[in-house]
Each structure stands twice: as C-alpha cells, then as structure tokens.
C-alpha cells in the first residue's frame, strides 16, 4: 500500500491541499506567494498528479528555487504528503472546517499500516485541552527533534542584539569599503565623459559623437565572507556570532555567511529573511547538528573546493569565527587555508579564547592555521567585534 497521507474527510479538495502544502513550505522558510500556488496547481495539471513521483517532481520544479531549497524539499514533501511527519489534521483553517474538526476525529482507524497505533491520530485542537499535541500539528518530524535547539537560538539572540550587530557590520563594511581608487576607468554609466573614447567611437558615425563613452571612479569594495563555527565548544559564544552573522547579512548585500560543525552549510539566503528572528529559525533547520563536534579542517577544505570558487576572490575578506579546536588532523586545515589564500583573499581568524589572559594558540589546529592568517584577533562579545574595524582597515 502507498504511504500517501490520508487527508480529512471534510477536506475541501485538492486546491486546499496544495495551498496547505505551500503554507507548510512557507513555514519552513520557502519564499512562496499566492502566484506560486497557482503555478503549482498548473504544474500539477501538466503531469499525472496521482503518481506521487510525478507530483513530487512537478512541485519541486515550481517551489524550490535554489540548491538549498532542493536539499530540503524532499523531506518536506514526505512530511506533508507521504505520512512521514505528523499528519496535518486540517488543511485550511476555515471556520466551517474547524467546527467539524473539533467534534469528530478526522482520521479513521482503518488507515492501512497505522491500525492500532493511537498516537498517529491527528490531534484535535482546543477542547480536549491537550496542548502539547496541538502544538505539534503539521510540523516536520526532523524539526520536532530540533525544537529545543530552535528555542535556544531564539533565546540566545534577541532582536536588539541583531540590531546592534547590524550597526557593527555596517561599520566594518565601511572600514573595508571606503577605499576608492583615484584612477578612473571606462564604464557604461559614469559621472564624467571619456572624451578620447567618444572621439574614437564617433569615427564610425562620420564624426558625430552619438554615443558618449563614460568614465567612473571604480568602487572597490571588499566583500565579507564569514564562516562561523557552531560546534559544542563554541556554544557559549554563539550569541554574539549569530547576531553578527544576521547583522552582517542585513547590512551588506554582497556578504556571504556559512556555518559549520560537522558539516558546512551556506546560510546566506536564510539569514537574508526580512524578519531577523525568523531568519534564525530558518538556519536552525539547516544547521542540523548544531552544538555537536567540529571538523574545521574538513569544512574549510570543502569550502575552498566548493563555494570559494564562486564567491571568494582577491577582493574578499574571509572571517573565520572559531576557537580552533579541531577533531581532524591539523594538516588538513593548513592545506585548506593555503589553498584559500591562493585565491588572493585576506583571512581573518576571530578566536573568542584569545581575549583570555595567557591564551596561547597551542591547539594544534590553531597553530597550523596561524601562518596563513592576515589577522588573528579576539572576539567573544559584540564589543570585540565592534573594535575590529581598525584591524580590518589595515588589511
């Protein structure tokens, strides 16, 4: 038998189910509007929607908009349509549906493999007073396991922290940014006219300067790429760092953010959410394994061989926020950093432990990294980060 989710008998139909699914995706950070719901319905009509694999492919091509989305999509699809998460007991919260749901159980005991397992009954909202169940409705199983962590993140970082970090990020950005060249270069649009090129171009139009060539003072911003270690040993410092990452993403549209523990996750898009706290929520879903062990070397290698190829060049500053305690051999880290350096970027390592009296970078990983760093600075609080601008300006 198929594992396809049984929806409530009073369910208003496929349209409502699809919009329920879209809401489900939206809850998990997908940016989908009403137009996408319409497109999704149209897309389903292009395939045979009764075949789960076809429906999955069709919805994936409409709803997922990036590699990160695709990575999450299958899990979310299974949770909603394939009975693997807790089943949603209602598809749309219309008044009339609600009143029915409150009086009858929407699922029947005949449901194939589920017979006899009372716990998979969709919980009823409201009157029976079982709030713990009611809270869990329609959530992904994976995210239930992470629920504790999700709360942690929100408790860790407040909206004020993010605002403060945003100001710091803007300051840092300025320290890096305001280094314009005095020379001018040819540009499509610019403030001044490039007379020499205009004259040259006018030859083909019989001396009429039809197209004005322009010149511009090149803007030469440095782009910040932040890699944040969120392994167990860094948990105490997660607060300023996460706030910093969130602030950085909001302050500077060119910047890029990653976090790593046992694996590396790009969180740039998630953090760019308009609502800073929802952004934190979104990264919890990505950062499955938060507070676990750390493999700095392997992650840096993955970063160097993967993302860095597209996002890091001579005008980037890679900021690594980590205490340098690596469960990998230190060699890996050295090789990865050396390779990253060859891309021409600056590497700044911020270590919360460095602020401690008598700290020496004796951890093997840290010692291996030192030769490749352009700056090695302490950072345990937002204030430390704020004081970085002079360091960064020297780079």
């Amino acid at each position: 038998m198929s594992k396809v989710t049984r929806f409530a008998a009073a369910d208003p139909g496929p349209t409502a189910r699809v919009s329920g699914f879209m809401a489900h995706l939206r809850e998990h950070g997908f940016r989908l509007g009403v137009a996408e719901t319409a497109t999704a319905l149209q897309a389903l009509s292009c395939v045979n929607p009764a075949v789960p694999s076809d429906a999955r492919l069709a919805l994936k091509s409409v709803c997922a908009g990036s590699v990160e989305d695709i990575a999450q999509f299958d899990l979310l699809f299974d949770a909603f349509w394939m009975n693997e998460g807790r089943v949603r007991h209602k598809v749309m919260s219309t008044e009339q549906v609600k009143s029915k749901e409150n009086s009858t159980n929407s699922r029947t005991d005949e449901t194939q493999s589920c017979t006899g397992k009372g716990s998979i009954h969709a919980p009823k909202d409201g009157d029976d007073g079982d709030d713990t169940f009611a809270e869990g409705t329609g959530k992904l199983v994976a995210s239930q396991a992470n629920n504790l962590m999700k709360k942690d993140l929100r408790e860790l970082v407040s909206a004020e922290d993010i605002r403060a970090a945003e100001l710091i990020a803007i300051r840092l950005g300025k320290a890096l940014r305001d280094r314009r060249s005095r020379r001018r270069k040819a540009a499509k649009r610019g403030v001044s006219i490039d007379l020499r090129r205009t004259m040259r171009n006018s030859l083909s139009t019989g001396g009429e300067p039809l197209r004005l060539a322009k010149r511009i003072r090149p803007d030469r911003p440095l782009k910040i790429v932040a890699l944040c270690d969120v392994s167990g040993s860094m948990m105490n410092y997660a607060r300023p760092f996460l706030a910093f990452l969130a602030g950085l993403m909001r302050a500077d549209s060119a910047s890029d953010a990653y976090m790593f523990h046992t694996r590396l996750v790009r969180i740039t898009n998630a953090l760019r959410d308009d609502d800073p706290l929802r952004a934190l929520n979104r990264i919890t879903l990505l950062a499955d394994g938060f507070g676990g062990g750390s493999k700095i070397g392997a992650n840096l290698r993955q970063f160097t061989n993967g993302y860095a190829r597209n996002f890091v060049d001579g005008r980037s500053v890679v900021i690594i926020l980590s205490d340098g305690y690596d469960s990998d051999s230190s060699e890996v880290m050295g090789v990865a950093l050396a390779k990253l350096r060859r891309r021409g970027c600056k590497i700044v390592w911020l270590n919360p432990l460095k602020g401690w009296k008598g700290y020496e970078p004796v951890a093997q990983g840290m010692a291996a990294a030192l030769p490749y760093l352009d700056a090695f600075a302490p950072a345990a609080t937002l204030n430390d980060l704020a004081n970085l601008d002079s360091t960064l300006a020297r780079l």
Partner: protein, 292 residues
C-alpha cells in the same frame, strides 16, 4: 497528452539524456510558457539542454551570452547609426525634407535586432537561451524580468513591439552571484548535477557510438573517479566526450594498457597546471586500474 517522459525520450533521440527532475521541469516550463532556470556546476550540460530542445522542436536557437556590462544595445536592439547617417547625407543632397528623413531613418529598416528582440519576433517560437545570467549586472536582470513576463519590448521611436510568438526561454546560472528572488520566482527551477554512471554511459553511447562497451565503461569510470579527486576544474561532460574522442583517435582499446598515452590524453580532461601536477602518470594509471 504529451507527458514529460515523452519529452525525455525525444531529448534522448537528439543525444541529450535528461534526468527525471530536468525533464519534468522542462515539460512544465514549456506547457505553462514560463522561463526555466537551470543551475549547476560548469560542464554538466546546461547550455546543451537548450540546443537539444531546439532540435526536438525543430526551431531556431537564439543565444544571449551574458557578461558584466551587458546592456540594452547589445541584448535588445540598436539603431544602425552608420546607415542612418549615410541616409541623412544622401537625403540632404536630394533635397528631402526633415520629417520625411526622420520617419525613414527610424523605421524597421534601420533597426538592428539583438537576441531578445529577435526572439520575440519569430514566426515559429524559438528557444531563447540566456546563458550565464549571473554574469550580467543586476540592472539587466531586473530589465529581463519585464521582458520575460510581458514578452514585449518598447523602442521609443517605434512604439511597443509585442511578441508574435512566445519563445521557450532557458536561463542558465553558475552561481557566480546570487540571483534575485524576483527572477527565481518567475522561473521554473531545475538543478543540474553531474550525471550518474548509467546516464553518463548513455550519453557516451549516443555521442560516440563507435566506442566499444568495455572502453566506454572504463572511460566513464575513470572520469567519475577523477571528479572525486581534489581538482581545481572538475572535468564536465564535454571534457569526457573529448577524452573519449581522443582515445578513439589514438586507437586505444583499453585504458590500462598504455599509461603514457593515457597521460597524454588527460590534456582533454585537466585544464590547469596544478590539476595536471596533481594527476601524474602513476596516479592516472592507478585510477584507470580501479575504474577497469
């Protein structure tokens, strides 16, 4: 009803082996008349999709290669200034009046079509390939949004030109920079990855049918193992096909027999100095041995 599997089969006959994800996305994009955004590493065959689709639909492929600084005059239209000037000179000698000249030099005859304008003015809907959209400036991306949703272009002197047919639009991106949400939302999306072993064998078989099964398996195994190595430029499908052609040209029947020739043929797969250094003759021979 034509389903996505039919499209997949049709693409296969042109030599393009599409994954289920890609075929569905392509089918939906075509049916709904929406642009398709393809992302993926370099060399996985994103551009090739457009070519294959043009073959399947037996229509023209119009390609717009994006780059930094691409602007309207290169992407949409431009006036043929030289001809306009000549015409003005000729008119002044013939004594023609100002307004008549003006009407003439701003007519279709003097309009140079660039890819976007050309694409919306075809009788048979063409495949419009907007390659590497992430290389273009954000302003251009924003402009594209309008063209892709309305399929009309305004030329101030002529007025608005509405599409006679809707082109099948395919956008590709390498991830050089992040694309705007607005663009992503307007597109059907598919991510193209390096093919798995079976798919790659099928690609090789359809492109180079003269290569024997034994060698094909070795070639594909070798290239796939090579992709797992730490390389700066990972060999794509095109490189794999070059490699196969090179081996066939050299008359090789088995990868493991002659390490020196194998190493020479690596020139088709490894394109940087450090990658060449990372795979010396012995290593190549070892990988070939494992792949065999």
């Amino acid at each position: 009803m034509t389903s996505w599997t039919n499209l997949q089969t049709a693409l296969a006959t042109t030599g393009y082996i599409a994954s289920d994800d890609l075929a569905t996305a392509l089918h939906i994009a075509i049916t709904l008349g929406r642009p398709l955004l393809l992302e993926g590493a370099a060399g996985v065959g994103k551009t090739e999709v457009a070519r294959a689709l043009a073959k399947v639909h037996d229509t023209q492929l119009i390609r717009l290669q994006c780059y930094e600084g691409l602007d309207a005059s290169q992407a949409i239209y431009e006036w043929n200034y030289q001809r306009q000037l000549l015409s003005i000179r000729a008119a002044s000698e013939a004594g023609e009046t100002g307004s008549a000249v003006e009407a003439r030099i701003f007519s279709e005859d003097y309009l140079l079509e660039r890819p976007l304008l050309k694409a919306i003015r075809q009788d048979i809907p063409p495949v419009l390939l907007i390659d590497e959209i992430d290389r273009a400036d954000e302003e251009f991306e924003a402009y594209l949004l309008e063209v892709l949703s309305e399929f009309q272009i305004t030329v101030p002197e002529l007025g608005t030109i509405t599409a006679t047919t809707r082109p099948l639009v395919i956008l590709t991106a390498n991830g050089t920079r992040d694309l705007s949400d607005a663009l992503r939302r307007r597109c059907i999306y598919a991510h193209v990855d390096y093919p798995d072993r079976q798919t790659e064998l099928a690609i090789l078989a359809s492109r180079c049918p003269e290569i024997e099964a034994h060698l094909s398996a070795q070639i594909v195994g070798f290239v796939q193992k090579l992709r797992a190595e730490e390389l700066e430029k990972v060999p794509g499908i095109a490189e794999m096909l070059d490699f196969a052609a090179a081996l066939a040209g050299l008359g090789i029947k088995d990868l493991t027999t002659n390490p020196v020739v194998l190493h020479a043929a690596l020139a088709t797969l490894l394109k940087t100095q450090s990658d060449r250094a990372a795979v010396p003759t012995e290593v190549a021979a070892r990988i070939a041995g494992k792949a065999a």
